[in-house]
Amino acid sequence: MKLIFEYEESITGHLPNSNDDDPHSLGDLPRELIRKELPLPNVSEIDVIRHYSNMSRKNFGVDIGFYPLGSCTMKYNPKINEDIAKLEGFMQLHPLSHQSCIQGSLQLMWELGEYFKKITGMDAFSLQPAAGSQSELLGVMIAKAYFKEKKEKRTKIIIPDSAHGTNPATAAICKFETITVKSDSRGNMDINEFKELLEEDIALVMLTNPNTLGLFEEKALEISDLAHRNGTLMYCDGANMNALLGMTRPSDQGFDLIHLNLHKTFSTPHGGGGPGAGALGVKTLLSDFLPLPRVVNEGKHFALDYDKRRSVGMTRYCYGNFGMLVRAYAYIRSWGNELRKISEHAILNANYLCSLLKEDFELPYDRRCAHEFVLSSRKLGQKSALNIAKRLMDYGFHPPTIYFPLIVPESLMIEPTETESKETLDKFATALRKIAKELKENPELVKGAPYTRSVERLDEVMAARRPNLRWNAHTGLEDEEGKKKPGINEREDRRQK
């Protein structure tokens, strides 16, 4: 493991053409503003290529193998969509170009909004949020602005205990208090407890449907009715939309707002942790509050509308993660009106895999699951979920999400997605069953895993206790024998001597 900062000084190939003017002059820039040292390495192109190619080989992605990370929808990301997003007309377009020059991009955004309206039943969409969590923030800001305008003092948000952590974190940023409702024995939000907690200061109910247990909220409609009668808005965390395409529309379940994660349901690549893209849909009563600018269809052409009216304003620079919107648009157009097949097969794959595993593991809520399911390995001992996850790596699989949702002990949250074959699911189930057996017969083997990756189990406690979060130019880093290597500037100084 060598850092890019630890290469010997070399010739960088990327000096922009400077034949036509003097790159060394800085005209009349005052000396006090000029930087005295720039401690970056000079590495040759071939070494840079090798460095990052080798680094990538220590990684794992959907392109390498099965990645059933629950709640993240790690489906195949079609390669054609990468090519399409890189079409010059999309990629090299400046966002502040004249309106006559951006008609293709505006059309794409407008049509994508229309498709999302059809899929969700919402009345208006904003494509501006950079990710699901920013959509949530926008949604809660909109709810806050809505009640402020109505002069209603509502300070609390109801969230079930199975919710993603972003829900309460978002509520807190907007200075709302979070009220947590327990799940009942069938994995639904407990309707009786909900009724008790639903008071007149509740602004919003945030529900994920299907929820993070992979189960449909069986009382979603009743919850919506109760909330609406109380003047409370219903927010749908659409993280699990991969189970709903063409089946039921969140608007039919009574939701007033929903966000979509385009990197989940609409297959834009996860990129090792972003960029994602969010889209926030709302019913008419909230559509004026959506951020600026809005893309409007004026018949002969498309335009950007900056009229503030009741809008909450902008949530980020320009219009959104446009490159991701292109990929999502292409994905929807490739499926067209057959989008429902995605969800049918996501549900089929999840139920099949669940049927292969539920005898060897505990299924805490024994219901038909949607696009994912949550097992518990509680009976296999403490930390068994972690140990199973690490051992799965040796079998060539990415582990499922573990220890989430928090309400299931030793949980393994498995989302196979629709793009996996029966053969892959069978192999994965065989590996998991084998690991369960190993845990009983040779637990030390599993506890020491993984053995086949570039590193074995890493010490997270030390990472937090003795934080080493960056390379330091002046001292370099200690090498394997504990000797200090010289930093870049020292190397340069030495050479000059």
């Binding site: 960088t12 003017d21 800085l26 005209g27 005052p30 503003l33 930087r35 000079n42 590495v43 290529i49 990052y52 190619s53 990684n59 794992f60 992605g61 959907v62 392109d63 790690m74 054609i80 990629m91 377009l93 966002p95 502040l96 951006i102 059809k118 950079a130 969590s133 952590g165 972003t166 974190a169 509520a171 907007c174 200075k175 449909f216 063409g246 039921t248 297959s267 996860h270 990129g271 090792g272 942790g273 960029p275 304003g313 620079y317 320009c318 292409a330 009106n337 989008l339 097949k341 097969h345 089929l348 029966k422 590193v455 074995e456 890493l458 010490d459 990472a463 937090a464 960056r470 390379w471």
Partner: protein, 426 residues
Amino acid sequence: MNYIPVTENDKRIMLRRIGVKSINDLLIELKPRIADRSELGLPNPMSELELLEHMKRLSEKNNLMKYFIGAGAYNHYVPAAVNHLLMRGEFLTGYTPYQAEMSQGTLQAMYEFQSFICLLTGMDVANASMYDGSSALAEAVLLSSSYNGRNGVFVNNGLNPQYMDVLKTYCEGADLEIVNEINEKTTCVIGQNPDFYGNLENLEYLSDRAHKVGALFITCVIEPTSLAIVQPPGYYGADLVVGEGQSFGIPINFGGPYLGFLGVKNFLLKKIPGRIAGMTTDSKGRKGFVLTFQAREQHIRRERATSNITTNVQLMAIASTIYLSLMGRTGLKNVAKLCYNRAHLLQKKLAKMDFKLLNDKPFYNEFLVRAPSGSSENVLSHLLKEGILGGLHLGHDDILICCTEMNSLQDIESYTSIINEGMLLK
């Protein structure tokens, strides 16, 4: 196109194993109402070839120009190697490195990115990236308020107006107030450098004013190639540096995805939002990387988290890390010098053509001019006709113009000669 590999035969076996006759029966058991097929009303599916043709046509409805505009999105050259490395499926199709042993590539890239940001800005610690520059600024303000419990936000003149709009939205949501004076209630003072008009300044005076009343000083850098030649914000007292990393190897892409960055002094480490990678060792004593200080984050801390953000923009962070590695110290300085010199060259030429120069400070690669009275519309539309986006029209006759290494001497020559012709025509 259909990306589902399960055959009809597979399907029969799978359904039998599940214990249902058909997918529809499965759906009925799952939740009765969803079995009713609802008509989506979407267009017909497309083959890969049809899709590509359709998308090409759509992309060709956009018109690309020679850009003399920046204002938050900078048209720099991206070396070919960046994209080739970025498209490796191991980087492209992985997710957040929750499982460190399987994600050492992503984690090392995070660590290197954090290091690059610290080296460039003069901060002690940086996170693994934010959604974009504007939301990074807003998050820095939330951080300030949570650090010192105050709610006044002072913004120095010259902040990019879109960043200001985003900041206002976040402040409204989080009950913070944008104020006109710096006092004991001020949580932070924000200064953009170079500012929206390209002005470069030693912001020490602003940092001193902030620190005198116990407020934090945030520097916002939206054109970070400038950091190759100008003093880093750490030098003039910034406690936090946030900004936009798009200039480092990321195409302008109609505004996104971009790359927010956030670096802080050590004392703010535990308040940082988002992912941070740290170096540690494995059970055999080998060096490796993990996500660290996760107890700040929403998936653990929920309503007490430092932020609600979940992911960073990892692929963009990798792009910029590769870009900075390819350019190196020498290449990056050259880019910065070319940007600086070309902008100054164009400014001098325009001065000779009766354009009034409005920057009263040294500037980097953007500058503000006032076109001869009543001519700005005419100037910009003449340029547009010749395929040049001449700048950002800021009302009156003011135009904000930007040059990068992409604007050749010949482009600059065309720019001025087209204006000359346009004026003669008038």
